[in-house]
């Protein structure tokens, strides 16, 4: 009954390209004439790109030093031994000496690298409060639950900045000294530590809470620093424009890494005599060894590196492009061979008919 009513109302369907499924269309066919050249061209392009990448990556110089102090590795072993089993470890300093026989072309970047450090562990990564870091007073007083157990201090005060990420802020510091002539005095190499964090993080994402009576310290009154910290957050740096949540080191650290081995920028060397790079000579890095990593088998490294058009040293992309490029060409040849063979067969069959 219901359908008969519908049937009576039926009328000739619209004669449009859409309803009749006759929309004009492009019907490409992946024929041999397209596919094979595609493979060869792609292969050649990849090979070329790969070669370029490989050589630019190889041209980048890197100088790495593991200063964790495991076993007998340099003077930091003493610090490592001293800090063994003590939390927080006592302040200690050690140094790393190295010599450059030729100019280390600049601009040179100084990184610290941690291994075995799971900044990408979910529970670690979520243990922060972006609302608090964006300067919201309410979040400052009531940090997010994700921050637990670094949400409230033992005294019941809200932790600022809360959470495991902030609590584990990397607190080793480095200074670089250069001995121009052997036996001469070590001159401190200026480390440019401005603008090491993302512009967007430093200027937009991270905000201090509104000042109280012009004082950041008062703004943070009633909060506790994270337990591992030796100073409250508003004293992170003596520079009033680089303290509180808006501190370059802090912001860099808070941009958590994707992998358990990661580097973070510590400083640029581009000032004064060093704008062209590190000239040859002996160098010393003085390390304030504070950060305990041996407990979980991690390592701390110092890395000097320079940069090319495609970023830092990364042999992976170059090699991968070379491999994929040659793969394309090999596959292209295989396909060509198969094509020729079956094409002949088809022709034979057609002839038979």
């Amino acid at each position: 009954m219901t359908w008969s009513a519908a049937a009576r109302g039926a009328h000739q369907p619209d004669n449009t390209a859409f309803t009749q499924q006759r929309l004009p269309a492009w019907q490409p066919l992946l024929s041999a004439g397209i596919t094979l050249p595609l493979f060869f061209c792609a292969g050649l392009a990849f090979l070329g790109l790969g070669l370029g990448l490989y050589y630019s990556s190889n041209a980048i110089q890197e100088l790495e030093h593991d200063y964790t102090g495991d076993a007998d590795a340099g003077s930091c072993a003493a610090c490592a031994a001293q800090g063994q089993g003590r939390a927080p470890p006592p302040p200690c300093s050690c140094s790393w000496h190295f010599t450059l026989s030729e100019l280390f072309p600049g601009p040179v970047y100084l990184y610290y690298e941690l291994t075995g450090f799971y900044q990408n562990n979910r529970r670690y990564g979520v243990s922060r409060d972006d609302a608090q870091l964006s300067g919201l007073v309410s979040a400052l007083r009531h940090p997010a639950n994700e921050c637990a157990p670094y949400q409230f201090s033992a005294a019941g005060l809200p932790v600022a900045p809360c959470g495991a990420v902030a609590n584990s802020l990397f607190n080793d510091t480095f200074s670089l000294w250069h001995q121009r002539q052997s036996g001469g005095p070590y001159v401190e190499v200026p480390l440019d530590r401005a603008a090491i964090a993302w512009w967007t993080d430093y200027h937009i994402k991270f905000r201090n809470p509104p000042l109280v009576n012009g004082s950041l310290a008062l703004a943070f009154r009633g909060t506790a620093p994270p337990p591992n910290w030796r100073r409250p957050v508003y004293e992170l740096s003596p520079d009033p424009n680089n303290t509180g949540f808006v501190n370059q080191d802090f912001v860099v650290w808070m941009r958590t890494a994707a992998l358990p081995t990661f580097r973070k920028l510590y400083a640029r060397i581009r000032q004064g005599n060093y704008s062209a790079g590190l000239p040859s000579g002996a160098y010393r890095v003085d390390i304030a060894y504070n950060y305990p990593v041996r407990a979980f088998g991690g390592h701390k490294l110092l890395v000097f590196s320079n940069i090319s058009w495609m970023g830092g040293k990364n042999p992976f992309l170059g090699i991968a492009y070379l491999v994929v490029g040659s793969l394309c060409i090999v596959v292209g040849f295989v396909m060509l061979a198969v094509y020729i063979r079956y094409q002949d067969q088809d022709d034979d069959e057609n002839d038979d008919e």
């Binding site: 009954m1 359908w3 519908a6 049937a7 039926a10 000739q12 369907p13 004669n15 309803t19 499924q21 929309l23 269309a25 492009w26 490409p28 066919l29 992946l30 596919t35 990849f46 790109l49 990448l53 939390a87 601009p107 690298e113 799971y118 990408n120 562990n121 979910r122 529970r123 670690y124 990564g125 609302a131 639950n145 495991a164 584990s168 993302w198 512009w199 967007t200 993080d201 994402k205 958590t256 890494a257 994707a258 992998l259 358990p260 990661f262 580097r263 973070k264 920028l265 088998g297 058009w309 495609m310 970023g311 830092g312 040293k313 992309l317 991968a320 994929v324 396909m335 198969v338 079956y342």
Partner: protein, 1135 residues
């Protein structure tokens, strides 16, 4: 019993819609599963994701379904309202008042007029016709178009239309409780202290239509949902496609895989936690509730359960539904399936079966009204050695039909305007007064059981029991022998303008055994004549020996008729001796009145008089096939679709039609006839047929036979066997009953499936369904049943796909069908074009969809090894929310709504393309495993290429690039590029929409990226949007783009290579046709398949009577025949 006549087919109302609809939806396993995931995500200890990542997609999915349900229900509400508000005349306080259908209550008396539908199930009280007779058409109930007679009991028929008496009527009816038996009703009427028994012939059922009756009154017995019509509209079983079932199985597999992966993750986490996490506590102390690494692992198990849940794709079911809906609309919209003469378009009533249309292997077709038009045309005749109606030039009949001029019947005022004849010699013969021609037509105008109706002077309407008979009487009428009216004992014929009344002495009615009928009349000249018509084989034996010569000539003509596929009939007469008739008449009455063996006794008596007949001639009636039926069947055969005709008709007719529609061909090696009436013979016949077709299959060592003899309990699949030739099988309903009931069903199936065409005749509706069920049970094949009548409903419901032909035989078949249209030949378009496209599209969709989700999800698996199995997601949670729902939904919908590998013309020109669907080549277990492996590969590439890129690497300004958010950005952008390229590779038909959807979605992704990572949004909601500035800071990095290009290329190389090599090495038919179409672009298409109809003269089809006994008894009993005058005279007297 105080119920009104409202019917309610709707499910919801405004108030209960939300709770009921939600309840319904959550009864679906998938929805319930995702709801439980939402709850899991509310537990902060285990949830790695905000609950909106699942909640938003689930809400969208539920909302779409709810809207669809709501629209459906609104339609039902509208229909209900329309039906409930129809007007009806109700007897209230002695007056007739118009009221709405829904206000009719049990016990009301209503008045129905001619051509009105019956409002409720009512007890007939009185009618305008004598004896309280009422004619009804029951097409909507049982599909039969012939009129049925209902009769009021005499005590109430006296009430007539006297409103006072009717108002005073205080009878009490006791009857059965409402039930769904259409032909059963028992009840008693107590009226004025007397009891009258009531049968189903007193009951007018809702859904019937009053015909040929000016008015009638009835007492309402059952209303609304209690009516037999509504009781019969039982919930039709919900049909699911094989793809649906397969999808469910796949989802279960995926679920298992998910559980296994979660286990691996949990174990990994346990190990990590004890080896590393324990020592890492200085920076990340364990939570209070985590007592050990094992406890932590248990929690992580659930966390990964949440993260990896996208393996079971939430939008799978809803997408499939949308795709099917879209493809159903295409069917409704198709102009090439629109039948202009009846203004009907094809309709997809079920929108969930589309892809099965592309997989059909068996078509079960009704004959009458489906293959044939059920229109009989008097085409030729042979009268006393002379053949009329033969075209002089022997070209195909169709061509001459158009060329030749119709015979002018203007000399005959009573001629039917619809009748057409093309041989003028016959008219001349009539006009010239040829004695034999006159006698021939006189026989046709007298010897029948047709009833006539003459509402307007000169406009005769015949009610014939079978269309053949109607055609014959109409032919006689046009040639000047007009059957005008009949009473129980007279027949009035206008012979060449002269009205003559013949006395009807006896009707020797038709029966299946006799295959003939005769009438005995007394002519106005007082001659006694017997006219007989019947099957040639029967009549031949009853003829006088004097006309052997005539018989030979006529037989030759009959052979000619049979060659053309016409249905033939012999006409004979006999002049009777008065005395002989007198004695016979006594015997007849005696036999008629005998209580035992009346049928047999009558037939003996009939035989006595039906002999020594004089042959008059033969008629040839064309059972008109529907348009393009043979072409369609040849096309379907080429597509490896097997066609079985299941008909209630006789064997000869069915076989004849089978040849006419090319189901059987003359070149066939053999057509087996199975006519056995018991187990043994049927078994022998089936085995013999099989032995001939493929001798090895009947051996005891044949694996199927081995399994058969071991009587397996589990249903198993009978493999397809290839016979050594081209065979046909004809099986009668009786043999079929034997085969189905006596454990021969496998035997039958094996034999039947080897044949190219199978004809099952004399089938009951139930048997039709049984045959369909049989094939469904033992063959892994999609079945389609097509029919037009109510007797096809059972098979339409039983088959995977039911197709209703919207013909003359009522709506029942159509109402129960999944698809309906007006012409049989639309079936090829439905299957080969729409079906194939739908199948291809769904397969492409599923392949892509599973691949996409595996690639998307499994990246988390690889990442787990680098983050301490901590359930850290790779992606931004907003990306996870939007990926399936927004970023990738339109391209894949576009693909599955617009893609076509081959346009419709090519699809129809190469029916072989259809085989891919039958064998389910495009999406099966193998393809799914391919998707899985390819997904694993792609996710591997995505993760490790991105990881290699950022590992200890720096940006071009010296800052580190290895932060988590940049990594997320690289992986998700690579993923978007990969899935976009993959769908671009899958698209073969690039419309503007495809470009828009595919490239638009990728563009939209980037827009969303900048929006979601914008300063404003993130500053406003710092705890919801974490990725501030990532897009603008990182997207300018060369490395990032190099990584994205590398991942994309690595992921699509296998796809292109596979596509290319497969076409060369293992080409499927589509590839060949594609090449061909490429080649033929500049040239015209190959000519369409042309069928020349050939018929061998070896077959002869006899007259097709309806196989129920006719009106003969009714006519002679005289009930219907009392003259109207008499009644009208009596009317004033009563007042």
């Amino acid at each position: 019993m105080e119920e009104d006549n409202t019917i309610k087919t709707s499910k919801y109302n405004a108030l209960n819609f939300l709770p009921m609809n939600l309840f319904e939806q959550f009864r679906r396993l998938a929805n319930a599963y995702f709801l439980s995931l939402v709850f899991l995500q509310l537990i902060p200890q285990i949830s790695p994701l905000a609950s909106y990542t699942t909640l938003i997609p689930l809400t969208v999915v539920l909302a779409i379904t709810a809207v669809k349900d709501a629209i459906d229900d609104m339609k039902r509400h509208q229909n209900d309202n329309q039906v409930n508000n129809r007007p009806v005349l109700l007897l209230v306080n002695g007056r007739m008042e118009e009221d709405k259908w829904m206000n009719v209550q049990v016990g009301d008396i209503i008045k129905l007029k001619n051509n009105q539908p019956v409002t409720a199930d009512i007890l007939l009280l009185s009618s305008s016709e004598p004896y309280g007779l009422t004619y009804i058409e029951t097409a909507e109930l049982d599909g039969e178009t012939n009129l049925k007679v209902k009769q009021a009991i005499s005590v109430t028929s006296e009430l007539e239309d006297n409103l006072e008496l009717l108002s005073a009527f205080d009878g009490e009816v006791k009857c059965d409780l409402p039930n769904n038996k259409l032909d059963k009703f028992t009840g008693t009427l107590t009226y004025k202290g007397k009891k009258y028994s009531l049968g189903h012939d007193k009951l007018l059922l809702r859904g019937c239509i009053i015909r040929n009756t000016d008015w009638c009154y009835g007492l309402v017995i059952y209303t609304g949902p209690d009516t037999k019509l509504m009781q019969n509209s039982g919930k039709s079983s919900f049909k699911r496609t094989q793809m649906d079932r397969f999808m469910n199985v796949l989802v279960l597999w995926i679920f298992l895989l998910l559980i296994i992966m979660c286990f691996i993750m949990a174990i990994g986490h346990g190990i990590w936690q004890s080896k590393i996490g324990y020592y890492f506590q200085a920076f990340m102390p364990w939570d209070n509730y985590v007592s050990s690494s094992v406890a932590s692992a248990a929690l992580i198990y659930w966390s990964y359960f949440i993260i990896l849940n996208t393996m079971v794709p939430i939008s799978l079911y809803i997408s499939v539904e949308i795709i099917r809906l879209g493809n159903s609309f295409y069917i409704n919209w198709d102009q090439k399936m629109f039948y202009a003469p009846r203004n009907t378009q094809a309709q997809a009533h079920t929108t969930t079966l589309n892809e099965e249309l592309g997989q059909v292997k068996y078509v079960f077709s009704d004959k009458t009204g489906t293959l044939t038009q059920n229109i009989m045309i008097f085409n030729k005749c042979s009268i006393y050695r002379k053949l009329y109606g033969n075209s002089s030039d022997k070209v195909g009949s169709k061509v001459t039909d158009c060329k030749k001029e119709k015979v002018d019947f203007s000399y005959n005022k009573l001629a039917s305007p619809n009748f057409a004849f093309y041989d003028n010699t016959l008219v001349e013969a009539v006009k010239n007064g040829d004695k034999w021609v006159h006698l021939f037509f006189l026989a046709l105008s007298l010897c029948h059981t047709v009833m006539s109706e003459e509402k307007v002077e000169g406009e005769l309407v015949y009610q014939a029991q079978s269309p053949d008979e109607g055609a014959l009487v109409t032919a006689a009428r046009n040639f000047g022998f007009v059957f005008r009216s009949r009473t129980s004992d007279t027949i009035t014929v206008v012979e060449m303008g002269v009205t003559r009344v013949y006395q009807l002495l006896a009707i020797l009615d038709f029966s299946n055994v006799r295959k003939r009928m005769s009438v005995i009349v007394r002519t106005p000249e007082d001659r006694l004549m017997l006219f007989c018509k019947g099957a040639d084989t029967i009549i031949c034996e009853l003829l006088q020996s004097s006309c052997t010569d005539l018989i030979d000539v006529t037989m030759e003509h009959l052979d000619d008729f049979a060659t053309e596929g016409l249905r033939t009939l012999m006409v004979a007469y006999r002049e009777l001796d008065a005395a002989f008739f007198q004695t016979w008449s006594h015997k007849h009455s005696a036999a008629y009145l005998s209580l035992e063996d009346r049928e047999y006794k009558l037939s003996v008596v009939y035989k006595e008089i039906e002999k020594d007949l004089m042959l008059l001639g033969a008629t040839a009636i064309e059972d008109k096939l529907q348009d393009a039926v043979p072409e369609t069947i040849i096309t379907l055969n080429k597509a490896q679709i097997k066609i079985w005709v299941l008909t209630g008709d006789k064997q000869e007719t069915a076989v004849n039609i089978a040849y006419a529609c090319s189901i059987f061909e003359d070149e066939m090696d053999e057509v087996f006839m199975v006519q056995g009436k018991n187990y043994e013979t049927v078994f022998q016949e089936l085995r013999a047929a099989r032995a001939k077709m493929k001798p090895e299959t009947s051996l005891e060592s044949n694996p199927t036979n081995v399994r058969l003899s071991s009587k397996p309990k589990m249903p198993f699949i009978v493999p397809d066997e290839v016979p050594n030739g081209n065979y046909g099988l004809v099986i009668s309903g009786y043999s079929l009953a034997c085969a189905l009931e006596e454990n021969l069903e496998l035997e039958l199936l094996q034999t039947a499936c080897m044949c190219k065409g199978v004809i099952c005749c004399r089938m009951t509706p139930l048997q039709k369904a049984q045959v369909v069920e049989l094939v469904k049970k033992y063959k892994k094949a999609v079945t389609l049943a097509i029919g037009d009548g109510a007797n096809d409903v059972s098979m339409i419901k039983a088959a995977h796909i039911g197709v209703g032909i919207r013909g003359l035989e009522g709506m029942q078949a159509m109402l129960n069908s999944d698809f309906s249209f007006s012409q049989f030949h639309y079936l090829q378009r439905l299957l080969l074009v729409h079906g194939r496209w739908s199948y291809n599209r769904i397969c492409k969709f599923l392949n892509y969809f599973f691949y996409k989700n595996f690639t998307f999800t499994l990246v988390h698996f690889w990442y787990a090894f680098y983050n301490g199995f901590s359930a850290q997601t790779v992606y931004d949670s907003w990306f996870m929310t939007c990926f399936n729902l927004i970023y990738t939904s339109l391209p894949v919908l576009g693909l599955s709504l617009f893609d076509q590998d081959m346009n419709d013309t090519w699809s129809l020109s190469f029916p072989e393309l259809y085989e891919a669907g039958q064998q389910n080549l495009f999406f099966n277990k193998k393809k799914f495993v391919n998707c899985l492996i390819y997904g694993i590969y792609s996710s591997f590439v995505l993760f490790f290429v991105s990881m290699g890129t950022i590992h200890n690497s720096e940006r071009d300004d010296g800052k580190d690039i290895s932060d988590f958010q940049t990594f997320s950005l690289i992986v998700q952008t690579s993923l978007m590029c990969v899935v976009t390229m993959q769908i671009a590779l899958k698209t073969t038909y690039w419309t503007l929409m495809s470009h828009l959807f595919i490239w638009g979605s990728l563009g939209f992704y980037f827009c969303m990226l900048f929006f979601l990572y914008s300063d404003g949004l993130c500053v406003m909601f710092p705890s919801i949007f974490h990725f501030l500035g990532v897009a603008r800071t990182s997207l300018n990095q060369t490395q990032l783009w190099l990584s994205i290009i590398l991942s994309t290329v690595l992921c699509i190389i296998p796809a292109i290579g596979y596509k290319f090599l497969k076409r060369l090495v293992y080409p499927v038919f589509v590839d060949k046709v594609l090449d061909l179409s490429w080649h033929y672009r500049k040239y015209p298409l190959p000519p369409p398949i042309h069928v020349r109809l050939k018929h061998s003269n070896l077959r002869r089809s006899a007259y097709a009577f309806s196989h129920q006994n006719g009106f003969g008894a009714l006519i002679t009993s005289g009930k219907t025949m009392s003259r109207r005058q008499k009644k009208k005279n009596s009317f004033p007297l009563k007042k």
